[in-house]
Assembly symmetry: C2
Homo-oligomer: 455 residues x 2
């Protein structure tokens, strides 16, 4: 270990290799389920060229390379399971150019998601993806996982906004695919292959991102229901009435039990299901859509809550984004999986998540992006209790089987990473798995890029 760190210091300069404790770089959100790695060195390159240099150095020597963004992932994708060199993008974080009049920005991978959203918002523009940990996550990590969030329902996931990528590919070459262009059907879509590849094919160092004019206002409506059935009916009513909501979220009874104490609004007596829908656009348009949403959500609702001021709207979303932490706080850890189902199977997926948890004697809840059929099915655990963790992992296997049975996917937001390794075979036939492996082999013939992940 010392030799690798020493050689990298000589190669890149002392500042580009972490000294002191590197504990921070060995885990991600899966620490709450007992996953932690070990690394031979942690590299902090200053720019894309240094990323290429370190990849090249490692590739020549057969040293595993583990790219790292904000460390907010739920699959252990950034955890150096097999040792090697962690390449953290935190200092590759410049805004290379911002052209507000042309609706585009060119940013390096280490720019934090929320920072990107703020920068463009100050010029009246909008970068829609809003994954849960946007203050900590980096745009490069969002691209590597193709992150979503509540507003993916209307606006699509991160990849929908990326028009070009700069990336370091093995054996250490800095390449560019796409750019400041909004269309490109020249070669096979290698940009989309890199997006969501979880650092197993290369390291994204920068992105060209398209933007849109920011909605003038965002007006959510929160409807509380007595049970999952009536909440699911409300969700179906929003879709069935053709209301173009910007977001359409749900939280079930167990989630509410964990999170309601800090809800920024009045509550009915015993809410067991919450639907949050949002209207956005110009003020009159958002008001019109909000009225439609209220109408669709009010039937069977115990209560309807429509925050109106920007501060109250922000408070509601801040609370919503804090739900994951509130659930973790229940027992100190959680095994939370991001399955996706066709939206007409959402109610069944919510109910069967609870059945699975009950069979394994685990406190269970789910919440997520109802309009996208994307659940965060969650078993609350004590991460120090090995037997409990083992039950949760067995329960997670059943969740994956459920997703596939319902015509869905084992992952809508988090990716495969380390903790879902081997699960893709539930979903894909051998021919697609073979192609998956062939893509990996073409990009990374030595298998050194984030080994053990995304497979």
């Amino acid at each position: 270990m010392r030799a690798i760190a020493r050689d990298l210091r000589a190669l890149l300069g002392d500042d580009a290799v972490a000294s002191g404790s590197i504990r921070h770089y060995l885990g991600d959100e899966t620490e709450g389920r007992g996953v932690l790695g070990r690394a031979d060195a942690v590299c902090l390159p200053r720019d894309a060229e240094q990323v290429a240099t370190v990849v090249s150095w490692c590739y020549d020597r057969g040293v595993p390379i583990v790219p790292r963004g904000g460390g907010t992932g739920y699959t252990g994708g950034a955890v150096p399971i097999e040792g090697g060199v962690v390449v953290s993008l935190e200092r590759v974080a410049r805004v290379r150019s911002f052209d507000p009049l042309l609706w585009r920005i060119h940013v390096e991978a280490g720019v934090r998601t929320a920072e990107l959203r703020r920068i463009v918002r100050e010029s009246g523009l909008y970068f829609p993806p809003d994954p849960g940990a946007a203050e900590q996550s980096q745009i490069g990590g969002n691209i590597a996982t193709n992150a979503g969030g509540p507003h993916a329902f209307k606006y699509g996931v991160t990849g929908s906004w990326v028009t070009g990528l700069e990336a370091v590919l093995p054996p250490g070459e800095l390449v560019r695919v796409g750019g400041a262009i909004r269309k490109d059907v020249s070669g096979y879509d290698l940009k989309s292959v890199l997006i969501g590849s979880e650092g197993t094919l290369g390291i994204v160092t920068a992105a060209w991102v398209r933007l849109i004019p920011a909605p003038e206002v965002s007006l959510p409506v929160a409807g509380f229901y007595r049970d999952t059935a009536s909440g699911a009916s409300a969700i179906a009513a929003v879709l069935g009435n053709g209301i173009a909501a910007a977001a359409l979220e749900y939280l079930d009874a167990g989630t509410l039990a964990a999170a309601l104490a800090t809800y920024p609004g009045e509550l009915p007596a015993d809410p067991r299901f919450l639907v949050i829908a949002e209207a956005d656009g110009s003020a009159p348009e958002a008001q019109r859509v909000q009225a439609e949403l209220r109408e669709a959500l009010v039937e069977d609702a115990e209560a309807i809550h429509s925050p109106a001021s920007p501060a109250d709207v922000a408070a509601l979303w801040r609370w919503r984004h804090g739900v994951s932490i509130a659930v973790t706080a229940q027992r100190g850890g959680k095994v939370s999986e991001d399955i996706v189902v066709p939206v007409d199977r959402l109610r069944e997926a919510i109910e069967r998540t609870l059945e699975i948890g009950a069979r394994h004697d685990l406190p269970t809840c789910s919440w997520g992006h109802a309009g996208d059929g994307n659940l965060h099915s969650t078993f609350m655990v004590d991460a120090n209790d090995d037997a409990e963790l083992a039950r949760a992992h067995a329960a997670a296997e059943e969740l994956f089987a459920l997703a596939v049975e319902l015509g869905g996917s084992i992952s809508g937001e988090h990716g495969i990473g380390w903790v879902k390794r081997g699960q893709l075979a539930r979903q894909w036939p051998p021919r697609l798995l073979e192609l998956h492996a062939a893509v990996k082999d073409a990009f990374d013939p030595k298998g050194l890029m984030n080994p053990g992940k995304k497979r």
Copy 2:
């Protein structure tokens, strides 16, 4: 040739192999520049299983397979250059399921684009992609080329709407990737690799397509300008003022000269540049945005035209979609290339297109999707004049060089097909070209899928 047709008849039934003249299946829009193929047989499978059967039969025997949609392509992508079996998807054209309350439809590849748009529109839903030849083109061909159209500016290209694919992959296996789900980050994005792969990796047999509530109204504004400079300023004003147009199109002087005779509205004295922008949404929202568009477009305009009735709006778009044919009619043929540039280089690309044409002594014009920086740079030719065709092809090479010089792409809509073979190397470094070839090799190890294309 007869033996292959006879064997395929025995395999699939007489109705599944074309008899009589197969001339119709040997060309596409590149006939106007002298491209025409030859085929050993034309197969008309009834369903996806028959597509798999014919692919398997051909693959076993080393016979090239050329998938064919509506035959409206501009690159010779559907032309059987090296002979083999044309597999036309025209009979694989069922709507497998349509769930209007869930905003989704599952269609087979042979469904015509305009038909798909009509079916969903009747239930208040919208499939935004509107490529030029939507009445003839098929959704499978649109997916194979990742087709765009005017409304891609707001709504994205075909691939943005495809949540799942069914496809036949060599050596003849029917697989499914994605489905009726709106998110999926499990495996590498093989769905996006197939989208835009121009039939060189497999044959798309069906797609799961997501939809959105249809805009209540569409309100275009057409602004006529005295020259490219003032038209380009108007386009910049729409963007610079942050107006969320649904479409933002342009037509230059040469295009107008070919097409204005049938323009469905009043004209100023000598218009040399036309910008068409469109507002859509609810009636009040579209009216609000239309007013903003008028304000942005009116400065320097010779005239502004805002059709209001649905019939007048439809007439304007019908005219717009007829522009390509009107340009062809000038000299009987055309070499038209779909380059893309960053939108701030649009004016330069328009002007340099004219310079290139002048240097090669060719009547030249361009029109296209201004907001996407996507030109249809066009040299009007007599397809029977070999010397002229040769000059046009030399001019096209300069166009591709121009696109790359300006930071753009050699193709925004049409793909590479046959006529742009070899051009990708202008744009991609050797490492990406190597990966492109590796993807092809993984999907199609014998190189029998649409040989000679997309490379």
